[in-house]
């Protein structure tokens, strides 16, 4: 019985899993076609990929190892959120009439300029930050509606 309870606690402990988001630090450039720029070019705060906790990032992905200066991305770790849940932030904004047409590369963005100073400091010094869902959710914004999570 004791084992069952332990298993139950382990299964439902939200600290057991986490997601690591690779987030765009700034746009690389502006495309000459404004529609293409919006639909294709990653902008500041766009989530690029979502990986499980403990993911080993490549040289050009992690801000402390990249050859690009300034780094082109940073990492946000959120305990209690799964990759499947975070995949929501990888979706584009699509045309209402023709869903095959992408209007904006990412529907959601992390408001990197509005997050608390301690988050900015952590990103600036270590290239990553660990935040709870409650700490970050009000800074995840739907670009179409303007609503936050």
């Amino acid at each position: 019985m004791k084992k069952l309870i332990i298993v139950f606690i382990l299964l439902f402990s939200t600290d057991l899993f986490a997601v690591e988001l690779l987030v765009k630090r700034q746009a690389n450039y502006t495309h000459s076609n404004p529609d293409k720029d919006r639909a294709g070019v990653y902008k500041r705060g766009d989530v690029i990929v979502a990986m499980p906790d403990g993911h080993g990032w490549g040289i050009e992905e992690h801000p402390l190892t990249t050859t690009y200066s300034p780094p082109r991305s940073f990492i946000v770790k959120i305990p209690g959120i799964t990759v499947a849940q975070a995949n929501k932030y990888l979706r584009p904004e699509v045309d209402d009439v023709d869903p095959s047409k992408i209007k904006t590369r990412r529907l959601w963005k992390i408001e990197a300029d509005l997050v608390p100073q301690w988050v900015k400091t952590s990103i600036a010094t270590t290239g990553e930050v660990t935040v709870t869902w409650n700490q970050i959710k009000t800074f995840i914004k739907n670009k179409k509606t303007g609503d936050t999570e």
């Binding site: 690389n28 293409k36 639909a39 690029i48 990032w57 992408i102």
Partner: protein, 361 residues
């Protein structure tokens, strides 16, 4: 001494004429030297106006590896600025062992993209070479390689790829050209295998462009094999299209192809039977290697693409071109031998660039 001198001269000429590659290593398992752990993060971080590159960075290569058995996640190429000379190459190096060795969909340390619509291309001037792709998601009526809204024209080459739809999602197209593709765009698909699309092996949809299929083997499009919905020019040469509801649908120029519904075929399958057992060793399981005595052997047009490729999906040199993704090898295996040493490999690469010898893609 003389040969060393020649190598240096060729390297110099090659650098002057062709510029250099910007090569980044993609490895989902983050093995030694990995730049990106996903093609998606490569795409985002390297996204650029490639045509504006001055100096050496004119060709952006994603060299894909898989050192620990993990599949890559989906990727979408969009928002770049490219041209014919400054393009993107998504590639497994056949000398490194991360590409399917037998032309069937392999797991383990074979680089592959698995997910819901594995690869979307919204750019021309891209080469996708030696990649496995598996649609494992719930999306229906889309593509395993999905192309849409491509402006400005250019060329897309898809070669040595293996596509499958294990999710069984309905209406999927192994290769799907959707709307909004510039008429100056050309798609070349060669030495590629697609199995059980559960829809179409390929569908071009309201796109006024040019699509060429060379030496492909497509099985089991339960709606159609190659389907031209409307618009555009579709050419199919040296291909085997089998077990589809309609092997060729729409206005298509068919040259030296084999199909099993008497749909403008020029070569009949050998002996008939489901999945052509007298032609392929095990087509139902994606093995399109040819059986000795098959009608498809030596039945194609030689070099139909004027030099785009000179071998088959596993690197066997083509002589008298067979139909399908495999060249019949009476010796029983691929003839490609990995790099002998770095100097010779570099020399071969340079000679290949200069068009002096044909190399592997």
């Amino acid at each position: 001494m003389k040969s060393i001198l020649i190598v240096f001269i060729l390297i110099f000429i090659s650098s002057c004429v062709f510029g250099a590659e910007s090569i980044k290593i993609i490895d989902p398992n983050n093995g030694a030297g990995t730049d990106y752990t996903s093609l998606a993060s490569f795409e985002s971080t390297e996204q650029a106006d490639v045509t504006a590159a001055t100096g050496s960075d004119t060709q952006f290569t994603a060299k894909c590896r898989c050192t620990g058995g993990t599949a890559d996640v989906i990727a979408n190429f969009n928002g770049w600025t490219t041209d014919a000379a400054n393009y993107i190459k998504i590639w497994t190096d056949p000398a490194e062992g991360y590409r399917s060795t037998d032309g069937t969909y392999q797991t383990g340390n074979i680089y592959r993209i698995e997910g819901d619509v594995p690869l979307t291309l919204q750019e021309a001037n891209i080469k996708v070479l030696g990649i496995e792709l598996d649609h494992t998601g719930a999306t229906t009526s889309s593509g395993i390689i999905y192309m849409v809204s491509i402006e400005g024209g250019g060329t897309i080459d898809i070669g040595y790829c293996i596509l499958q739809n294990t999710a069984g999602a309905s209406g999927m197209r192994s290769i799907f050209a959707s709307t909004g593709i510039d008429s100056a765009t050309t798609l070349n698909v060669f030495n590629t295998v697609a199995v059980n699309a559960n829809g179409y092996s390929c569908r071009t949809f309201d796109t006024d462009w040019t699509v060429n299929f060379y030496n492909c083997s497509f099985l089991g499009g339960d709606i159609a094999g190659i389907h031209q919905n409307s618009g555009g020019t579709v050419n199919v040469e040296n291909c085997a299209i089998l077990e589809s509801a309609d092997d060729f649908s729409g206005t298509i120029t068919i040259t030296k192809c084999a199909s099993d519904d008497n749909d403008a075929e020029s070569v009949a399958e050998s002996g008939g039977g489901t999945n052509w057992p007298d032609d392929f060793n095990d087509a139902a399981n994606g093995d399109f290697t040819l059986v000795s005595g098959s009608n498809l052997i030596d039945a194609g047009t030689d070099d139909p693409s004027s030099g785009l490729y000179t071998d088959d999906i596993i690197g066997t040199t083509r002589s008298s071109y067979d139909i399908g993704a495999f060249e019949f090898d009476s010796g029983g295996g691929a003839t490609f031998i990995p790099t002998i040493n770095i100097t010779e490999y570099r020399l071969n690469s340079i000679l290949n660039n200069l068009g002096i010898i044909a190399g592997r893609n």
